[in-house]
Symmetry: C2
Subunit: 737 residues, 2 copies
Amino acid sequence: MRKLTCIATMFLVAATMMAQNVKKSFTLNDLLSGGSTFWNLQPEYMYSTWWGDVPLELTVDQVSRIASDGSSDEVLFTAQDLNDILGEKLVRSCTSLSFPYADQSVVKLQTARELVLIDFQKKTVVWRGSLAEGASELTWNPVSRNLAYCIGSNVWVQTSDGQRIQVTMDGNDDVVYGHSVSRDEFGISSGLFWSPDGQRLAYYKKDQSRIPSYPQVDITQRISQTTFDKYPMAGEESEDVCVGIFDVSTQKSLWLNNPKPQTDYMTNLSWAPDSRKLYVFELNRDQDFMQLFGYDALSGQKDASPVLEERHPKYVEPLHTLSFLPWDATKAVMQTRRDNWNHLYLIDLAKNSYPEWHQAEGGGTFCDHVAVRLLTPGDFEVRDFLGFNNKEKSVVFVGNVTHPLRATIHQAPLSGKGKMKQLSADDGVHSATLSATGAQLIDTYSSPTVPRSVCLTTLKSGKSVNLLTASDPWAEYNVPEISSGSIKAADGTTDLYYRLIKPVNFDSTKKYPTVVYVYGGPHAHNVQASRGYWFRGWEIYMAQLGYVIFVLDNRGSQYRGLRFEQSTFRHLGEEEMKDQLCGVEFLKSLPYVDANRLGVHGWSYGGFMTTNLMCTYPEVFKVGVAGGPVIDWKYYEVMYGERYMDRPEQNPDGYARCSLLPKAKNLQGRLQIIFGYNDPTCVPQHTLSFIRACIDAGTQPDLFTYPGDGHNMFGTDQIHLHERITRYFEDYLKTAQ
Amino acid sequence: MRKLTCIATMFLVAATMMAQNVKKSFTLNDLLSGGSTFWNLQPEYMYSTWWGDVPLELTVDQVSRIASDGSSDEVLFTAQDLNDILGEKLVRSCTSLSFPYADQSVVKLQTARELVLIDFQKKTVVWRGSLAEGASELTWNPVSRNLAYCIGSNVWVQTSDGQRIQVTMDGNDDVVYGHSVSRDEFGISSGLFWSPDGQRLAYYKKDQSRIPSYPQVDITQRISQTTFDKYPMAGEESEDVCVGIFDVSTQKSLWLNNPKPQTDYMTNLSWAPDSRKLYVFELNRDQDFMQLFGYDALSGQKDASPVLEERHPKYVEPLHTLSFLPWDATKAVMQTRRDNWNHLYLIDLAKNSYPEWHQAEGGGTFCDHVAVRLLTPGDFEVRDFLGFNNKEKSVVFVGNVTHPLRATIHQAPLSGKGKMKQLSADDGVHSATLSATGAQLIDTYSSPTVPRSVCLTTLKSGKSVNLLTASDPWAEYNVPEISSGSIKAADGTTDLYYRLIKPVNFDSTKKYPTVVYVYGGPHAHNVQASRGYWFRGWEIYMAQLGYVIFVLDNRGSQYRGLRFEQSTFRHLGEEEMKDQLCGVEFLKSLPYVDANRLGVHGWSYGGFMTTNLMCTYPEVFKVGVAGGPVIDWKYYEVMYGERYMDRPEQNPDGYARCSLLPKAKNLQGRLQIIFGYNDPTCVPQHTLSFIRACIDAGTQPDLFTYPGDGHNMFGTDQIHLHERITRYFEDYLKTAQ
């Protein structure tokens, strides 16, 4: 029904970045975030925040009010002012200050040792809360000023008057309270959740005693020592999760009374505005059946029936909490891809609906027990829900409404009457923060031709004032031409978008070695209509060295809807590779691409893709560099892995076909695999098993590892890594016959 | 005093191996012992053994007596004969049979399940002894027919009538009985020692509870698992060793009453012929003070005074047991390098000597409490003590008497009167087995021009009959020219010997890339006057690919005396590298060596040398491949490491200077380090620490690992490894500028 509105042709017009004459060249330090000179060469940035509906600009030295004309001459206070009030120099920069109360002239400061509230008009310290030594997972509630945190595996609460209460007692390496669960999948990133009034604390309990431990070797000790990461591999024993609620007034905890297996997932905990009810998205281990349930926060009792239910023959993936309407506690906004696209829906909890199962556009079924209504119709994805405009009774969001590669800002009425309204420029990729009542927003964006621009937009009028237009930080550099366009996927119908970078000092009569950079997995994309089409710095470096760089978001990647993503279900890698081969066919059509000198590089899922491409199409790719690859999905974790592959016993054929171990024998070109020696995500067993398989098969991959590093390299290690990757292509691809 | 008789000049004449015309080329499978075709291309071999003084030839099918004319027509028995006697097919090959009794027609067969004695004349089974399931360290005494063995960490004895007695009860992972101790240093290779009469069993107890465990990761499990190797690193806690004696008749054990610290070494346990006394070489942890003590085997009481003592400011290294004269239980032969060269000495235990400390030629001091007399004077080393000639009252040994690179067979009188007598051809490297009374020996040797030759020599007459002269197995192959010669060491005076291999189809007008293969450490040498100067198969492969190969035994290496070896004491690597650089200077003098394309390769100590050379002389070596290297001696084991380096706290400067970690920053050329992922000898911490140091310093080594392999690679992994090593030189050295 909903078709992708393809306006890709405009991207075929190359968006050349600064093609001037006598220019500097980049070093890797200039181009990578770990580099010493990287930040000097980034577009100018502006720190801003909201004090209620008042926009503020934050600098190191001061906080200023942004006027309606965009000027920020009115200084609210300086760092020196705050330090004078405090009587000591605690504020070193104003850029991380926040303003928790719309109606009070109070600024919040967090230091390593305490939280401080300062009234910057009355010039007094309003409140101080010390931070316990060794505390992690700090979560503060501005209404009650209660603070929750963890010491090791136990939860503590510190009340606003400084009383410290140990909430859980028996936490240890196996039983962990108050931390994120489910390996941060399903949108989970924390384990402590204050009720709106700050009097009740919901917290996760994770029992991981049955999960085997993966050994990680620390070579920096006098004699190498092993630490053990609890790592649930696909199909194996996983964690048990439940949710407790601690009541600060009674100092008692209770457990949500959920009769489902504790191996089910409990995600996106959402407090009702009255702090008496907690909503939980519940998902079975198979990840094909989701129910949203409410729990009484005072008794732990589960509601008799769910709010809504979703099933899908592939998978359901709840990723977002409920957002209750600020003016109506009976209604909330949720996100789901039930209709293929990720959209906002209004849930009317007070309005029961006869529970019937319906077929959904996304290929699954749903059953709503209350009234649920789509707010954001259209063939696009909501990328970010920004909040509500209280006055106009609307939702505000970022979505790829105007083009799959763009992210623009829109407003949709909650009433269901009236049209969506666009609140940003048509092009580019926007992010925004909304003021307290949603009257205004600060919109930061870039596009292929705009390095960075910030504006203040008033929603009612739709008018914007510019706050910042960054100049091109690369004006003095010899920058390669970066363009984008679309090709058809291997299914013959789906549009896929690419980024193409031509070598610096491009000569159309030459043939260049060409490197495909690939990720290819779900929940990520590599091409969008932001600055330089979202280039990665290393690509610029390679273009300087005379390479064509090509990046294609294949089916399975992000922001293209559920069907697009789920085309890879139970056979990860196969459709993705077919699409990448369409990319190769496109490259071969370009007269300046040397099809005999094709390389490929990717990390993580992209390492899986790179290794897979090298072993599946040895006649296509001469040289590959794979980082931190998945080699066999049975070595990957339960939560992510079983979503896309099911459990090994459910999908033995898929696991066998998608394993790279049997493909080790096919390796012909030069493949270097690089991994963090202490990678807790794609554990070293992946790479080492592949190396063993190659040895047994008599093929010769190359290998490198970063002792002490995890799944990615940062800082100087990142520079070293990219020198290494570059050298490999220089050694073997540039001179390949 | 004793000077090296240098006759090296003759080796300067190239010993070209088979320079014919239309020839085959080798594969790595032809040249490496792990290769599928390796054994087809080895010189013919002959299995032989002794039945008392009767020489026997063993083949798969039969055992024949070797006549005095060298023929072996007289078949003693066939495998079929034995199987007929046994009534089942237990004998599949006769090559591993032995003849434990000089005066009985009894052959000993060992199967997986039992020991069997068969009278091959009477055609009867004389005795059978079953082997307990899971038994290791099997040690059988032919006199009593008692059998000792270990089950796990405990010692058991099985008497000749089949009774099984558990000798130790509390063995476990920490406390280990009956196994080798001191990590097989000091000549130790077993932990069970029968007295000559087979009624008393001496055994080691090793308490390793204080030794930290090195984690080794097994990636073949469903989820990687760790096993822990007890690994005592230099300067750290080590093992406690003591010696027990079990008396079979009383079924009781006692401990040798040694008041010294149990961290001292107790080595080379030697039973007196009367089975009532056990001699032990005792060495302090500092390894600079050795005492030979006798213990009463019935009481465990230590003798009041030692037999002899040796001290050395560097180290003393007892490596050999006592050998008592078969006809005089008061006298024994020992080996020591006290006078610089490893020589045989006669100890007269019955003849006390006033204990005075004397300065020794080897740089140390000694104090003999009984009469001790040198038996083998001369500037050479005894390489192997073969035994006694009972009739002539002499010792028979292999030594580099005629040239440092040779190993010839000699006889020396025990009386001290008369001269040594040479029992073998002058050239080549000989090994031999002596008959029961020493009347005859079977001498197997090769030389640069003789692939393999076996002869039977009668000691009295000195006459030999040829048993086998192997033809050249490589007659059909294009074999490179292999030569040897000597250069001066960096000290300006010491002769060092090298092997030089020229490329196949050598053209003297060309300049060739050249690879130095190096080991360089103590207790090993690489050049000797055996077939092809003891080439390694890979060198032939490289010569085929157009490389010059050069191998030099630097100071510190084997069979050149104590001072030669100890020149490296407390600063391992430094003198060795200086000598290797003398080798490079020599190479530069050769018109066909391309000094701009020098590579280096070595394993273990040679991996240390390779990495060290690459980082110390980056302007000399372009490409290196280092295998299983030591990187920092503090990560190496106590026994070997502290001998040469002392403990880190005693020699902090030496450890710092000899560590390669600070040199990581100097790396310029291409260096690939390869290690067994489960190496228990040079633990992976060495290589990984170096890789980390390189990353931190911004240098770029290459890396590979063999998961599941230890310190060396065997079978197909060995082939894979050498393909890999070769490819690296092909990639980077051949085309280097």
